[in-house]
C-alpha cells in the first residue's frame, strides 16, 4: 500500500514538474501545427520563382524542428494521417512546385526569345512588304522595257518568297513554343505578360497583321505570279490554320487578356477570308496553267472537284485511245498530260502539294494507276511491226497457195 502511494506521488510530481515547463494545450499545439502547415502549403502553391523554393525548404525544416517533439501527439491528432506522412506530402508538393516553376521559367525564357525573334521577323516582313509594294507599283506603271520588267518581276517574286518563308518561320516558332503548353502554364505566362515581366509585340496583333497582309497580297496579285506562288500562298494559309487550331487556345490565354472571345472570332473570320482568296486564286491559276498546257479539264474549284476533273479527263482520253490503233494523236495527248503530271505535280510542286493537301496521296496514286492504263492503250503500233505482220501474212498465203497447187498436180 505504501509502495502504491509512493508511486502515485512520484507520478504526480513528474507530471507537475513537466507541466511547469510547458503549460501548453495539446489542442493548441495541434492548431498551431495545422496553421503553420497550411500557411507553408499555401506559400508553396503560390511560389512564383525557383529561388523561393530554397527558402521554403528551410521553412519546412524549421517547422519540423519546431514540432518534432510533439510528433507522437500530432500522430494522434492527425489520424488517419500522421506527422511523417504530412511532411512527406509537403516535401512532395515542394518538389512538384519546383518542377512546375522550372518549366515555367524555361517557358518564359523561350517566350522572351520568341518575342525578340518575332519582333525581328516583324521588321523584316514590313521591309519586304514595302519593297514588294513599290515593285508592284513600278510594274503596274509599265514604264520599263522588257528586260527590266522581267528582272523586276523576278525580284518581286523572290521578295514574296522570302516573305512567305519568314511567315512560315514565325508559325513554326509559335508552334514549338505554344503547342506543348498547358493551360496553367499559359495562365502563368499570361500573368507575366500582363504584369509587364515579359514585354514585346502582342503575338495576336502580329498574327492579325500577317493575315491581313496576306489577304491583301493574294487579292491584289497580278499576272506576274506563277501557279507555284499561289500554291505557296495556299500552303501557308493551310499550315497557318492548322497551327492555329493547335495553339490558338494557348495564344488566346496568354495574350487575349479579357478579350479572348473577340480575338478568337476576329482571327477565325479573317482566316476564312484568307482561305477563300488564296483558294480561288490558286485554283484559277492551275486552271489557266492547264489551259495553256492544252489539258482541257472540267471546271474545278477545290481539291475534290480537281481530282474528279483529272480522273474524268484520263478516263475519256483512255476510251478515245482504245479506238485508235495506229494513230499517234492520243499518245501525244498522253505524253502531254504525263509531262504535266510528272514535272509539275510530282516534282516541282510536290512539297507544296503535300503541305497544302492540294491532292492527297491516295488521289495521286489513283491518277498514277490510271496513267499506266492510259499509256498501254494509247501507245501506237510500231511500223516495223506492221511490215513484219504483212510479210508473215504474205508468206503464209504463198505457202498455202503452193500447197494447194501441188495437191492439184498430184
Amino acid at each position: 500500500m505504501k509502495l502504491f502511494k509512493k508511486s502515485v506521488l512520484v507520478t504526480l510530481f513528474t507530471l507537475i514538474t513537466s507541466s511547469v515547463f510547458a503549460q501548453q494545450s495539446d489542442h493548441k499545439i495541434k492548431t498551431d501545427f495545422n496553421n503553420n502547415y497550411s500557411a507553408l502549403s499555401k506559400s508553396i502553391s503560390l511560389s512564383q520563382s525557383v529561388i523561393t523554393i530554397d527558402s521554403l525548404q528551410k521553412e519546412i525544416n524549421k517547422l519540423d524542428e519546431k514540432f518534432i517533439e510533439h510528433s507522437q501527439l500530432l500522430d494522434n491528432a492527425l489520424y488517419p494521417s500522421s506527422y511523417k506522412f504530412e511532411f512527406q506530402n509537403l516535401i512532395a508538393k515542394l518538389s512538384s512546385a519546383e518542377q512546375r516553376l522550372l518549366i515555367i521559367e524555361n517557358q518564359s525564357e523561350r517566350l522572351e526569345s520568341l518575342i525578340q525573334e518575332v519582333s525581328h521577323y516583324k521588321s523584316e516582313i514590313s521591309f519586304l512588304n514595302k519593297r514588294a509594294d513599290s515593285l508592284n507599283k513600278v510594274m503596274e506603271a509599265s514604264q520599263l522595257d522588257q528586260l527590266q520588267l522581267s528582272m523586276l518581276i523576278k525580284r518581286y517574286r523572290t521578295n514574296l518568297e522570302l516573305r512567305d518563308e519568314l511567315v512560315m518561320s514565325i508559325i513554326d516558332s509559335l508552334m514549338i513554343t505554344y503547342n506543348e503548353m498547358t493551360t496553367n502554364e499559359g495562365n502563368e505566362i499570361s500573368d507575366q505578360v500582363e504584369s509587364g515581366r515579359v514585354t514585346g509585340t502582342n503575338t495576336l496583333e502580329m498574327l492579325m497583321d500577317i493575315i491581313e497582309k496576306n489577304i491583301e497580297y493574294a487579292s491584289n496579285s497580278n499576272q506576274v505570279l506563277s501557279v507555284e506562288d499561289y500554291l505557296r500562298m495556299y500552303a501557308i494559309q493551310h499550315y497557318f490554320e492548322e497551327v492555329w487550331n493547335k495553339i490558338g487556345d494557348n495564344l488566346l490565354t496568354t495574350y487575349g487578356g479579357s478579350q479572348k472571345a473577340e480575338w478568337n472570332s476576329e482571327i477565325i473570320s479573317k482566316m476564312r477570308d484568307w482561305r477563300m482568296v488564296t483558294s480561288q486564286k490558286m485554283w484559277n491559276s492551275v486552271d489557266q496553267y492547264l489551259e495553256y498546257s492544252s489539258v482541257e479539264l472540267e471546271a474545278f474549284d477545290n481539291n475534290y472537284s480537281f481530282f474528279i476533273a483529272l480522273d474524268n479527263f484520263i478516263k475519256d482520253a483512255k476510251k478515245k485511245s482504245e479506238g485508235q490503233v495506229i494513230s499517234n494523236t492520243s499518245y501525244e495527248d498522253y505524253k502531254n498530260f504525263q509531262g504535266f503530271w510528272s514535272n509539275k505535280i510530282k516534282n516541282e510542286w510536290s512539297i507544296l502539294i503535300q503541305d497544302s493537301e492540294f491532292l492527297t496521296v491516295a488521289q495521286i496514286s489513283s491518277i498514277d494507276d490510271q496513267l499506266i492504263a492510259w499509256e498501254s492503250v494509247s501507245r501506237p503500233v510500231q511500223p516495223l511491226f506492221l511490215v513484219l505482220l504483212v510479210l508473215t501474212a504474205i508468206s503464209i498465203g504463198g505457202y498455202v497457195l503452193v500447197l494447194s497447187k501441188a495437191k492439184k498436180l498430184n
Binding site: 507520478t11 504526480l12 507530471l15 507537475i16 507541466s19 494545450s25 495539446d26 495541434k30 494522434n76
Partner: protein, 158 residues
C-alpha cells in the same frame, strides 16, 4: 435406488453448469477510452455540438443553465471536452466555474461529478490528457490535475 439418485444428481449438476455458461456475458477488461487530445467544439444556434471524429453529439444548454441559470439562447462560444481512460467525459468552457465529469449511459450522459475549479469562472481553459489524469490549464498558468472523482492536485506557476 442409490444409482438412480446418483444419475439424477449428476444431470442436475451438468444442467446448472450449462445454464451458467449460457447466461455469462462477454466482458473485456482494461479498455482504454482515452481521447488523446481535447475536442474544442462550437455549438450551433440550437446549442448542439457534434464531434465528428469521436462520434458524439449533444446539447450544451443544460451545462449553460447549470452555470449561468439561463438556457434561453446560446451564450457559449466554444466547449472543451476530453475523455479519460475510464471513459468519463470532462466538459467545461470559458467562464464556467466547474468541470463536469459525465458518464456515458444508454443514450445519455449522466453527471458523475461536478468539480468546482474556479469560483469566479475559468479564463481560457484547456484540457490535456496525461497518463491517467486530466490536466486542466487555466490562463496558461494554473494547472489542475483531475480525475473522475475530483481534483488531485492544483499548482499555480509564474
Amino acid at each position: 435406488m442409490k444409482a438412480q439418485k446418483k444419475v439424477i444428481l449428476s444431470f442436475v449438476v451438468i444442467g446448472v453448469l450449462f445454464i451458467q455458461a449460457c447466461t455469462k456475458s462477454l466482458v473485456i477488461k482494461n479498455v482504454d477510452y482515452a481521447q488523446k487530445i481535447e475536442s474544442v467544439l462550437t455549438p450551433d444556434s440550437d446549442g448542439n455540438i457534434s464531434d465528428i471524429r469521436y462520434g458524439i453529439s449533444f446539447s450544451i444548454l443544460p451545462f449553460q443553465f447549470e452555470e449561468f441559470k439561463d438556457s434561453s439562447s446560446v451564450q457559449i462560444s466554444e466547449i472543451r471536452m476530453i475523455r479519460n481512460n475510464l471513459g468519463y467525459y470532462f466538459i467545461t468552457a470559458e467562464s464556467f466555474k466547474n468541470v463536469y465529469v459525465m458518464a456515458p449511459n444508454k443514450g445519455e450522459l449522466k453527471l458523475e461529478k461536478k468539480i468546482q475549479v474556479n469560483e469566479n469562472g475559468l479564463y481560457s481553459p484547456v484540457f490535456n490528457l496525461r497518463v491517467s489524469v486530466v490536466e486542466l490549464i487555466e490562463n496558461s498558468k494554473n494547472i489542475i490535475l483531475l480525475n473522475e472523482k475530483g481534483i488531485l492536485k492544483e499548482e499555480v506557476t509564474s
